[in-house]
C-alpha cells in the first residue's frame, strides 16, 4: 500500500539533491525505537515491574523475617496467616512467608539458569548451522530434529530418576533438549540474514567471519532471540514445578514453588493458604514473563515499525 508512510510533514527538510525527506529532530537507533515502543505498552511495562518486584522480594523477603525456611516448630503447625507468620505455617510449623520467597528464588534460579544455558548452546549450535549451512547444517539439523522428536518431559523424568535429584540435576536435565528451539530460531535468523545484501556487502569489504557474525548477523537476530529467552524462562519454571510435583524436583528441606504446592496437597481443603500463596506466585511469575515476551515481540518486530 502506497498511502501510508509517505507522510511528509511540514518541517520536512530537503537535502542537497532536492529529495524531500522527513528526518526527525532526534536520531534514534532501532534499539531505542524498540525501547520507546515497549515503554508505550502498559501491559508489558507492568509485567516488567511485577517481575522486578518478585525478583527483589525473593532476595529480600526471607531476610526481613525472624524465621528461617528449614526450622520446624511442631507447636505451631498449619497456622493461618497472622501478624507473626505473615503467610501462615506449614505442616511442620515452618514459616510460609520465608518458604514462599525461598521457593520463588529456587524457581527463578532454575528458570533463569536453564534459559541462560539454552541460550548459550542454542546460539553456538544454531549459529554454526546457520552460518556454515550446507552439509554441516543438514547433519546437525537432522540430529536436533531427532532429539526434539523424543518427548521432552520423558527424557527429563528419566534423567531425574537415574541421577541424584537436586538443583543442578534439574537445570541440566531441563537443558538436555531445551536448547533445540533456541538453536532453530538462531539458525533461521542467521540463514535469512546471511543472504541479505548488507552481509554480502561486509563480505565484499573483506570482513572476517567473526566480524560478520558478531557485528552483522547476531545483532540483527537478537530480537527473536530475546523473545525466545523471555518465553523459555516461564516454560522452565513450569517444568521444574511439574517435576517437583512428581517428587523429582529439589529435595527437602529446600523447597521450590512446585514442591510447596505438592506438599500442600495433603490436607489443603483444611489449610488452603499453604496452596494459594505459592500457586498465586507461580502463576503471577509465569504470566508476567509471558506478557513481557509478547510485548517484546511487538516492540522488536521490524514489520510493525513505522
Amino acid at each position: 500500500m502506497s498511502a501510508s508512510g509517505n507522510n511528509n510533514n511540514k518541517n520536512a527538510t530537503t537535502d542537497v539533491v532536492g529529495e524531500p525527506i522527513a528526518l526527525q529532530q532526534e536520531s534514534i537507533s532501532l534499539w531505542q525505537d524498540a525501547w520507546i515502543r515497549l515503554k508505550g505498552n502498559k501491559v508489558a511495562m507492568f509485567s516488567l515491574g511485577t517481575l522486578i518486584v518478585i525478583i527483589l522480594a525473593s532476595i529480600v523477603g526471607p531476610m526481613i523475617s525472624a524465621f528461617n525456611y528449614y526450622s520446624n516448630d511442631l507447636m505451631n503447625t498449619n497456622k493461618a496467616p497472622s501478624s507473626v507468620h505473615w503467610f501462615g505455617t506449614d505442616n511442620l510449623g515452618r514459616d510460609m512467608w520465608v518458604r514462599t520467597w525461598m521457593g520463588a528464588r529456587i524457581s527463578l534460579i532454575v528458570g533463569l539458569a536453564a534459559a541462560a544455558i539454552d541460550l548459550i548452546i542454542g546460539i553456538i549450535y544454531g549459529g554454526i548451522m546457520g552460518y556454515f549451512g550446507g552439509r554441516v547444517d543438514t547433519i546437525m539439523n537432522k540430529f536436533s530434529e531427532i532429539l526434539y522428536s523424543i518427548p521432552y518431559l520423558l527424557v527429563v523424568i528419566l534423567l531425574l530418576v537415574v541421577f541424584e535429584p537436586g538443583l543442578g540435576t534439574i537445570i541440566v536435565a531441563l537443558t538436555v533438549t531445551g536448547w533445540i528451539t533456541m538453536s532453530w530460531i538462531v539458525r533461521g535468523e542467521i540463514m535469512q540474514l546471511k543472504s541479505r545484501d548488507f552481509v554480502l556487502a561486509a563480505r565484499s569489504m573483506g570482513a572476517s567471519a567473526g566480524r560478520q557474525l558478531f557485528k552483522h548477523l547476531l545483532p540483527n537476530a537478537l530480537g527473536p532471540i530475546i523473545v525466545t529467552v523471555t518465553l523459555s524462562v516461564p516454560s522452565a519454571i513450569f517444568s521444574e514445578a511439574f517435576l517437583s510435583f512428581l517428587g523429582l524436583g529439589v529435595q527437602a528441606p529446600v523447597a521450590s514453588l512446585g514442591s510447596m504446592i505438592n506438599d500442600a496437597l495433603t490436607g489443603w481443603n483444611l489449610y488452603p493458604w499453604r496452596m494459594w500463596f505459592p500457586a498465586a506466585l507461580i502463576c503471577l511469575t509465569m504470566l508476567a514473563f509471558n506478557l513481557l515476551g509478547d510485548g517484546l515481540r511487538d516492540a522488536l518486530d521490524p514489520k510493525l515499525r513505522k
Binding site: S149, W184, G188, F238, G247, I261, A279, N290, L291
Partner: protein, 310 residues
C-alpha cells in the same frame, strides 16, 4: 508422497530406537542393583531375582534381548509386583487415560479454533481482548494449579462434581477442563495470528474483487488457510496432554497410566518406568507422524520431497 511418508516413518523408528536405547542404558547406569534397597531380601532370593530379570548376563546380551522383546511388545515384568507384566498393566489402565485424552484433544481443537477465529474477526475489539486475556491466563496457569483450583471450587465448595474417582460421566468434566485449558490457549493464539495474516493477504483482496460476500470469503478463503498452522500443533499438543495427564490423574484419583507412572517413579519400579516411557514415546511419536502426514494433505504447497520448508 509415498517417499515422504516412508522417510517420516523411518525417522520415527530411529527416534524410538534412540529413546529405547537411552532408557535402557540410563537404567543400567543406576549405581548398585534395583533390589539393593530392599534390605530384608535374603541373598539367595536376590540371586534368584537377578536370574529372573536376566540381570546377571552381560550388558550387550541384555540389551539385545531387551530390544528383541520390545519388538514383540513385551516390556518385561514389574519389579515391584513380581507377577505382573508391564504391558498387561499398561493395557489394563489405558482406557480411562485414553478417554480423557481424546476428550481433551477434541475440546482443545474445537474451542481453541473458535476462540481464535472470534478474536481475529473482532480484531482490536472488546471480544478480542477478552479472548486473548483468557488465552494468556491459560498459558500462564500450570495445569496442576488449575486442577486443584477447580477441584476446590466446583467439587469441594460447590459440590457439583465428585472430588475424586472416575466412575460416572460427570467425572470427566474437571480433568478434561484441567487438561484442555493450556492447549486451548495455545491454539486460540495460533489461530488468531494466522487468521490476521490471512485476512491481509493479497488473495483475499482478489476474493473481494470477485464480489464474493463476506461469509463465502470467510469460509472458503480465510478459515481454511487460517487454521492450517493449527495442524502443526497437533503433535506438541498431544505431548502436552499426555504429560499433563500424569499429574491430573494423581489429583483426581483416576486409575490411568499416569497414575501407574507416578507410582512406579515413587517405588523406583524400573521396568515399569521403562515400559511406560516407551509406551508414551510410541504414542507421542505416532502423533507427530500423523501430524506430518496431515499437513501434507491439507497444504498443497508442501513439496513432497521429504522436507518441510521452514
Amino acid at each position: 508422497m509415498v517417499r515422504y511418508i516412508a522417510s517420516k516413518f523411518l525417522y520415527m523408528l530411529l527416534s524410538l530406537f534412540i529413546l529405547a536405547s537411552a532408557t535402557f542404558f540410563l537404567m543400567k547406569a543406576i549405581p548398585g542393583n534395583p533390589f539393593m534397597s530392599e534390605k530384608n531380601v535374603q541373598p539367595q532370593i536376590k540371586e534368584r531375582l537377578m536370574e529372573q530379570y536376566g540381570l546377571n548376563k552381560p550388558i550387550a546380551e541384555q540389551y539385545l534381548q531387551y530390544l528383541g522383546n520390545l519388538v514383540k511388545g513385551d516390556l518385561g515384568i514389574s519389579m515391584k509386583y513380581q507377577n505382573q507384566e508391564v504391558s498387561q498393566r499398561i493395557a489394563d489402565t489405558f482406557s480411562p487415560s485414553l478417554q480423557i485424552g481424546i476428550f481433551a484433544i477434541v475440546i482443545s481443537i474445537v474451542v481453541g479454533i473458535v476462540l481464535g477465529l472470534i478474536a481475529a474477526l473482532y480484531h482490536r475489539k472488546l471480544i478480542d481482548n477478552v479472548a486473548m486475556i483468557i488465552a494468556v491466563l491459560g498459558i500462564a496457569v500450570p495445569s496442576f494449579v488449575l486442577a486443584t483450583l477447580i477441584q476446590y471450587i466446583f467439587a469441594l465448595k460447590l459440590g457439583w462434581f465428585d472430588v475424586m474417582g472416575f466412575n460416572e460421566p460427570s467425572d470427566f468434566v474437571l480433568p478434561v477442563i484441567a487438561l484442555a485449558v493450556q492447549p486451548i490457549a495455545f491454539i486460540a493464539r495460533l489461530t488468531r495470528s494466522s487468521m490476521l495474516e490471512v485476512l491481509n493477504a493479497d488473495y483475499i483482496k482478489t476474493a473481494k474483487a470477485k464480489g464474493l460476500n463476506g461469509f463465502t470469503i470467510m469460509t472458503r478463503h480465510v478459515v481454511r488457510n487460517g487454521i492450517l498452522p493449527v495442524v502443526t500443533y497437533v503433535g506438541p499438543m498431544t505431548a502436552n496432554i499426555v504429560t499433563g495427564s500424569v499429574v491430573i490423574e494423581q489429583i483426581f484419583g483416576i486409575g490411568g497410566i499416569g497414575r501407574v507412572f507416578v507410582d512406579s517413579i515413587t517405588n523406583r519400579d524400573y521396568t515399569m518406568i521403562m515400559g511406560v516411557t516407551i509406551f508414551y514415546g510410541v504414542l507421542l511419536m505416532l502423533a507427530r507422524f500423523v501430524t506430518d502426514i496431515l499437513y501434507v494433505l491439507v497444504d498443497p504447497r508442501i513439496k513432497l520431497s521429504g522436507r518441510k520448508g521452514s
